[in-house]
């Protein structure tokens, strides 16, 4: 495998710049487009890292989200946002993050972390070694998410189902009531 680090660094710099632009810009539409640019760069990064499954999903979902967000942004009349810094919120979140890190070190520190760059591979080893003979599935990513971790995928599907249910319930009610009112009037 050839060295891909320079390309990845360039993509990372692009993504960081895009994120900063998305946060700092005053126009909501520009922010949405910057976020989309970051997402597309992430998709290319996945491709460089040799993960075409995730790259396809990221690209396709990014396109869909971009369409929905632009559609939603255009419907608003006033797309300029006034930014105001809430120092208290920043300080509180920093304190909580520090507490999280501290408690995490307290809990996991005793057992000892694995060395940096050498994660615990007990589960992944089983997947890699028995993936093909156990499932007869050529694409090991699909073998993992639909055979070894089918419960996980079922959870994802139910999360999607529930969120769609909630979105339809929240967004539909108003529209339906309006129609009924029009009919009644």
């Amino acid at each position: 495998m050839e060295n891909i680090t320079p390309q990845l660094y360039a993509l990372l710099v692009f993504m960081i710049v895009g994120s900063v632009v998305a946060i700092e810009t005053r126009n909501l539409l520009s922010a949405v487009i910057s976020v989309a640019a970051v997402g597309f760069a992430l998709s290319v990064a996945f491709l460089f890292l040799g993960a075409p499954d995730i790259a396809i999903t990221q690209l396709v979902v990014e396109v869909l989200v971009l369409i929905i967000l632009i559609r939603g942004t255009i419907l608003l009349d006033n797309t300029a946002v006034e930014s105001h810094r809430d120092t208290l919120a920043v300080v509180t979140s920093l304190i909580f993050f520090g507490l999280l890190l501290g408690f995490g070190a307290m809990i996991f520190g005793g057992r000892g972390f694995p060395e940096f760059g050498e994660p615990v591979m007990r589960v992944s080893k089983v997947y890699v070694h028995t993936g093909l003979p156990a499932t007869y599935c050529a694409n090991i990513v699909t073998a993992v998410i639909l055979d070894f971790r089918a419960y996980d995928t079922m959870g994802e599907a139910s999360v999607l189902f529930t969120s769609i249910l909630g979105a339809m319930a929240l967004l539909r009610r108003d529209g339906k009531r309006k129609e009924e009112e029009v009919v009644a009037a």
């Binding site: 075409p52 396109v63 093909l132 007869y136 694409n139 699909t142 089918a150 979105a167 339809m168």
Partner: protein, 151 residues
């Protein structure tokens, strides 16, 4: 005129079929090549969303009515669970009960292909529903909200 210009409509009519075929390919070959039920389902949903953006909601809803989308959405989730329950016949929930076939063939790896198809149905119809909800119902209710505020 409902929807976008004639150029956009013509190109959309030309392209939508290819997009759906590509989505179906991504779904069916999910266990052999990169892709799978989720990515393919989003691609199919994108085809319907393209039709809705170009032609307006009436044409899109005539191709895939809202009620049918609801049924496909729930049916996909149910099919996923049923395939999982089918594994109980050989042991446990989500056991691979189907024949495994031969590696690198389309009909291989047992339950993974049906699961991919179920997820694709579910994802495509539910994302179409979300877009229609956000694009159509939201606009109406948003306008109503502003009118209420002004009144």
């Amino acid at each position: 005129m409902i929807g976008m210009t004639l150029i956009v409509k013509t190109i959309t009519d030309f392209v939508v079929g290819f997009i759906i075929v590509f989505g179906v390919y991504i779904v069916l070959y999910g266990h052999l090549t990169p892709g799978g039920g989720f990515a393919g389902g989003v691609i199919i949903a994108c085809a319907f969303i393209l039709a809705m953006l170009a032609h307006g909601k009436d044409v899109a809803f005539s191709k895939l009515p809202e009620k049918a989308a609801h049924i496909i959405d729930s049916g996909g989730a149910l099919a996923f669970l049923l395939i999982g329950w089918f594994g109980v016949t050989v042991g446990a929930f989500f056991m691979n009960a189907f024949g495994r076939g031969e590696v690198f063939r389309l009909l291989s790896s047992g339950m993974i292909l049906p699961l991919n198809i179920a997820i694709a149905f579910k994802v495509s119809s539910s994302l179409f529903l979300v877009f229609s909800a956000l694009a159509i119902f939201r606009r109406r209710s948003f306008r109503a909200m502003i009118e209420d505020e002004l009144a």
